[in-house]
Assembly symmetry: C2
Homo-oligomer: 599 residues x 2
Amino acid sequence: MSLFVDRRNLDFMLYDVGGLETLLTTERYSDYDRATITEIFNTAEAIAGEKYFPCAAKLDANEPEFDGELVHIIPEVSEAISAYRDAGFFGAGFDADVGGLQLPLTVTNAVASIFMGANLPLSNYHFLTIGAANMLAEFGNDAQKDSYLGPMLEGRWFGTMCLSEPQAGSSLSDITTKAEPTEDGHYLISGNKMWISGGEQEISDNIVHMVLAKIPGGPPGVKGISLFIVPKYRVNEDGSLGEKNNVALAGLNHKMGQRGTTNTLLNFGENGECHGYLIGEEHKGLFYMFHMMNEARIGVGLGATMSGLGGYLYSRQYATERLQGRHPQDKTPTSPQVPIIEHTDVKRMLLAQKAYVEGALGLILYCSGLIDQQQTAESKDDYAEAGLLLDILTPIAKSWPSEFCLEANKFAIQILGGYGYTREFPVERHYRDNRLNLIHEGAHAIHGIDLLGRKVSMLDGKALDILKARILEEVDAAGAVAELQPWADSLKSYLDEALSATEKVLACGDLNLRFANATLYLDALGHIVLAWMWLRQARAAEAALSSGGDQTEAFYKGKLSACRYFFNYELPRVTHWLNIVGGLDTTCLDVGADEFYCE
Amino acid sequence: MSLFVDRRNLDFMLYDVGGLETLLTTERYSDYDRATITEIFNTAEAIAGEKYFPCAAKLDANEPEFDGELVHIIPEVSEAISAYRDAGFFGAGFDADVGGLQLPLTVTNAVASIFMGANLPLSNYHFLTIGAANMLAEFGNDAQKDSYLGPMLEGRWFGTMCLSEPQAGSSLSDITTKAEPTEDGHYLISGNKMWISGGEQEISDNIVHMVLAKIPGGPPGVKGISLFIVPKYRVNEDGSLGEKNNVALAGLNHKMGQRGTTNTLLNFGENGECHGYLIGEEHKGLFYMFHMMNEARIGVGLGATMSGLGGYLYSRQYATERLQGRHPQDKTPTSPQVPIIEHTDVKRMLLAQKAYVEGALGLILYCSGLIDQQQTAESKDDYAEAGLLLDILTPIAKSWPSEFCLEANKFAIQILGGYGYTREFPVERHYRDNRLNLIHEGAHAIHGIDLLGRKVSMLDGKALDILKARILEEVDAAGAVAELQPWADSLKSYLDEALSATEKVLACGDLNLRFANATLYLDALGHIVLAWMWLRQARAAEAALSSGGDQTEAFYKGKLSACRYFFNYELPRVTHWLNIVGGLDTTCLDVGADEFYCE
């Protein structure tokens, strides 16, 4: 069985739960049907299996090196990306009129998941390129699109996102990279950018950096940030590459995991003119960036999910094959040892992984589906509703998998025991890779503040109202199925708790106190959303069990067991978190810095 | 400030909470007083600071290598251990009549904590040697002690524990290493041992392996296991080293963390006679091993605690120095940025680390104190009571720090953000190092089964009764202090919940079901024990605040804040765990292996 993708589960999620076939009947996606989508997945799985998966351990053990001139990466990376490029995957999600395949995001994220599962650090190179190309396609002018978009969708040029600086990580307001206008229309960029993934490499012919910078004289803070295209090599009018643009690699960061993705400190304009090209209007850079951020954040959640899946698939195979110990009631030392999957605590750790990983995948595909719904919306209201729901779900889609699929990786190591702690087995690598996801694309706490400080209250709470309505729709639908009714009731009751805690905390005028437990609020609402996702899966499984489905009975029973695990072992944690949030607990707010006595 | 030990906290724990001065008045420890102990700590801190701490990152980045002949370790390791040896620390805890310093375990564990905090993988070499020497001192015969104990206490020969085999990790019952008696009195050892820390190195002149093996014809299972001394070099009658004893290094394991400690697969007797010397009686090996296991397990808990402390100390310093962002109510982008320790969520992550790490240290020192109480007990009853309390606390002392100080390391990384994820900063190393502790010296689940299956019910629940009585003593004492009374009440209430859940689960005759949620039981009872430990610290802090103490007011207030954090944010989790345990939830028991569909 594959150790990086679970095709049966993917089919179940897309068709039985997600209703992809209905989406494929819309005009926008009318070129595709289930058979063609299956072919696309087959191609992705074949390439990932041949080119991505086999070099994952080698890439981790041989991270990119900078010799002062060039960055060296093992050759398998370039070969893998060539195969990905040749299959046309760079442009899979883009409109046909710019040369893309115009596939739904649900499908392109399913494809991305296959490559992420096989080799996350390697797939980051295309993930970032697609993100940057997305931004260009949406906000670039025609000339910019003519110059840059084609080579990016062909996978000849890669892209990066340059936000953070050494002195400004979570606080973008304080970036200092400067963009000075010139009479020739371009800007001169100067400053340093930190944590730039893919910031330097020799795999692609050019690198297109999307850079946040401040134009002198603009407003202070985030309102003075503009967005620029800054290529590694300047581009001539005929599309050929010109001279170097003075983007210098100051150094590679050496990370705990995701080692195969170069991570860089870049100096812009230190040794000569560095040209930048303004995207859209001045001072609106953060708006553009965040407009595209939803997709990037869903992508981070997906990467976290696939790291989790890699550990789950490996540890369930190991648990089936490894013989160790006996059942508690068997006191005969000469009786044969059992596969460890028969030990209840191993089953607990497998169920936990399954509940986290398959639940998270459900959420990511649901969020992807909302963007597809926007693309095919028949009214402005439908468009707006899908957008608002996506807005409120995005902090959860990014953060929840990052937190709980990391926990899944911890269990995968535990199931392998001492072997899991060695680098001869992949589970510790997934654990190291996954630890990044709580940090990048907005640290965990930032998403709590985003959720509680903006998303739940915006437009008089409209996004929260939509979320509530959707969850209650599922509660009604599942409540009509006898086997699921107790879970439906339970979800409704926890949702009521969450709404009540939300009211209490939003009524607090002291912003410091209001946000004091925002991270716990994020975890709590996340668990409620995931319970909703599990109820959707359970309902689809029940329907298949009674009316027939493509999978085995054990498959559907496994879905019900994982749902049961989530409702019994995970969801009740919400009460504790919400007591703290709704009770406006001041423990963390009150403690003085001197009490940690770092004087 | 030191980044590997918190001397002020150590003093508070030993004297204000632990009452070490009273212990030092007993005859056994009458050579020592607070001043001499302080000098010992000063020496340890100086050596650890000069020799252990500076090479920790280098040792991690340059793990031991085997060239087919010899194992090469960076020279700093040997130099560091020389300094440790010269200070007499190998024999610190041993009786004066065998050449030791006869210090209380509370003190030697405090000393060990300093070296573990500075460089855990390096300190493993002496930790293991002391453990093996302990076993020899307790159960070896005079000739064995004459031959081996002296060189070990002088730190010239190191020791190992050889339990696991490739096919038998958690299930010692299934080991197959053989020990065949000879007419010369020694046994011929043959078999493979896996995960042997310190199993090969060139630092010490000899290595004394303590090996579990089966004598042919003995009873099956654990009742047929015997314990042998198996030296790397045989020892001549005059104490000089003889020929090699055919213990061959089959390979080094390459771990995620704790890389500086060689971890080995050893072949015994593959290429010639390998002599083993029986300790005590045949077939009693596991009894001897487990008799000494309490100390080893407390040591693992201490190592986990010190990995946690390393992350806490580093991240609190970073949080004080790093400027980033503003308070929520400050909307002026030009106002100066604040140290991140002023952000409530950063304070939450520091409080969590403090609560986990200082709570765990309290438990480890308390358990060490129980062994000291045994050493100085005036009656058999006192001796037995301390022993039973230690028995029931040991699974928690090993497991709780391993679980929650790893969580502390996760928070330390988060506070440093992107920097925390790089190998330029130590917090990711602590996280990697610490992940081992849930696995070795008994995997997490094994301790849950040990606690629920043996410790709480042995001698008609006498150990649990003693634990309950000790906790209620603290509840009474703290309840008499107005500020602490709500916490005292809360602890009593959760203890009642735990006792009630214990009754319910022990009444279940189906062993499979009884143990189905043993891991959650371990976590729940662990949290209750830790709340007790925090109440002890809070009471000592309150006393110092009202009557004066050696530390600043902020120090004591910090103790109360961490206690408040533990009671508000951590202890309430117990209810959820106990609902599952007491409710005999069958979710994990019921799920079939086929539902994970690995067919």
